[in-house]
Amino acid sequence: MLLALIGACRPREAAKGTALAQGPRVVSLVPAITEMLFAVGAGPQVVGVSSFDKTPAEVATRPRVGALLDPDLERILSLKPDLVVTYGSQEALHEQLARANIATFTYRHGGIGDTLETLEAIGARTGHADAGREATQVLRAQLTAVRMRVDGRPRPKVLLVFGRDPGSLRNVWASGGTGFLHELLDVAGADNVFADVDRENVQATSELLLARAPEVIVELQAETHAEESPSPWLTLAGVPAVKSGRIITLQGDQFVVPGPRLAGAAEALARALHPDAWSTSPGR
């Protein structure tokens, strides 16, 4: 009780537009968790974010404290956080924060299950246990709704590409058989052509692309790119997806940030893969 009072009396350098918040002051170095913090109602307690944070729009008003490779310890300390959200590989930062007696919440990317667990856990850690549970239930329900919507439809074999060299088929990186992208495909009613490869990322060489013969190619782009013409995929005319022209481009950073917007990402995938599942719109 006394501690809480002292904590509340500490001089604050809260950023502009931050309401006086209840609970621990949080600095987040992980965009996915920043979104979760806002989703569970801990937004006002977020006093610093990473240099990659874009969502929600409110993060623009928060001080930036670096990111995965370049966390700025001095800035972090100057914000007097009670809790710092770090990525699992930032071991040096963990030690430094431990020496400064600041609690850390460590996170690593995993599957959808990990996202749901983390959402609940971050709610509990920031004094919003109920809201955290609720947000988790909502997200789970949304994902289930997408799954049900495409349930029973034929599942296409999909190559999920998240990066390649512009204008060519070199350095094609695709989702392997683990991680949230792979699981999103499953929710969206499709089979990953690399389901058997026990890695998050696979470099899909032309040989692999031909051998795996995807029926649909989905390209994720975090930001808008220029139109490529002719499409570099045409060099692999033997691939079923190229033959039938089922090459889909999806834009948006919800595909690279496994946070509360995962359901939206799953729905975007499902709508692209099974457009007819949404053509008859029952009242939602």
Partner: protein, 360 residues
């Protein structure tokens, strides 16, 4: 076979073309010996050409691949063989031969056994170009040419011109010492710029750049190969003309000069030919390390120091070596593939060390 000459192989046993003793006799013996060597390396290359396309992450049936009666669009074996593997093997051959010969020329030009095609800043310049394209350029396609190879070639040629200008500016001749120092310094400078850009760019871009630096032969088609081959033509012509002059240079610039070799002209030609070859190879497949130092030395250990034999033999062996390394890279961790640059070093280094310490 001559005795291994160790690290001084470049300067040791330089063939003196103007020695009048036993010239005719020696010449015919040398020619026979040279053809024997070419035959051995040629067979090796042939084995690589035939063997490499047969291995990969996916088993294919060669008979089905070459079966003309089935339409290509439905013949997966043929597609994998002709679209994925053959271009890759040919790219390995082209890049391996080019880097090996460029290595020979650089070592002779700088009279330094540790010189590589990348010593004078060509690869870091091209890496910087590729990196800037990956990070800042929007996707852009100009027909067959795409932004990354073009930018890397531009970076390579930019580095070459800067180094050349520096070597020219000091005194009106062409100083290989200045060349070496300028190249090494430029390498460091470009590497620092690369780190800076990497630090400022996104993870995905950083990851792609790192991957590019490891080398990649998956060229996905014949067109990039054809373009690279055409751009290599001037370098190939120069390489064909150089061996005799490089033999003279191995005796030292002054010695060569007294024998009527146009030293500065030869040095310039050697520098530009090796740089152009390296630049084109790197823009096609990234900076694949080790080929340009290990193959020339291996070949010299086996055939002596006469550039008239070393250069063609290095071309043959460089091609075979990189094809073999790429075949290993494609199967060792199947279905994922190792970057070929990792394999060249892992396979090449121990083999080379063994050759170095083995008793003749």
């Amino acid at each position: 076979m001559t005795t291994p000459a160790g690290s001084g192989a470049v300067q040791a046993r330089a063939w003196d073309p103007h020695d009048p003793r036993r010239a005719a006799q020696a010449a015919s013996a040398r020619r026979r010996q040279a053809w024997r060597i070419y035959a051995v390396f040629g067979v090796l290359l042939l084995a690589a050409v035939v063997g490499a396309p047969l291995v990969g992450s996916t088993p294919i049936d060669l008979r089905a691949a070459l079966d003309r009666s089935r339409p290509f669009a439905e013949n997966l074996d043929a597609q994998i063989f002709f679209i994925a593997r053959l271009p890759r093997v040919l790219a390995a051959g082209l890049v391996g031969a080019t880097l090996a010969v460029a290595g020979v020329v650089m070592q002779a030009l700088l009279r330094n056994p540790l010189a590589t095609p990348f010593t004078l800043g060509v690869s870091s310049g091209s890496a910087l170009g590729a990196m800037l394209a990956l990070t800042f350029l929007p996707a852009w396609t100009g027909g067959a040419l795409t932004s990354v190879p073009l930018a890397s070639l531009a970076g390579a040629l930019g580095a070459v011109l800067i180094v050349y200008a520096l070597a020219q500016v000091r005194h009106r001749g062409f100083s290989t010492d200045v060349l070496l120092l300028a190249g090494v310094t430029l390498n460091a400078f470009f590497s620092a710029l690369i780190l800076l850009v990497q630090y400022l760019s996104d993870f995905t871009e950083t990851m792609r750049t790192l991957r590019w630096l490891m080398g990649d032969l998956d060229v996905a088609g014949y067109r990039p190969l054809l373009i690279a081959a055409v751009m290599l033509l001037p370098a190939i012509v120069a390489f064909a003309w150089l061996p005799r002059s490089l033999n003279a240079l191995a005796l030292g610039a002054e010695q060569a000069g007294t024998r009527g070799v146009p030293v500065v002209g030869v040095q310039r030609l050697a520098f530009f030919a090796a740089s152009l070859g390296t630049g084109v190879a790197v823009s096609l497949a990234g900076p694949i390390g080790f080929v340009g130092i290990i193959v020339p030395h291996l070949v010299r250990l086996l055939v002596g120091a006469d550039h008239r034999v070393v250069m063609p033999a290095s071309a043959l062996f460089g091609a075979a070596f990189l094809m073999a390394c790429d075949a290993v890279a494609r199967v060792v961790l199947s279905p994922v593939e190792l970057p070929v640059g990792v394999v060249t070093a892992v396979l090449g280094a121990p083999f080379f060390l063994w050759l170095l310490i083995r008793k003749p």
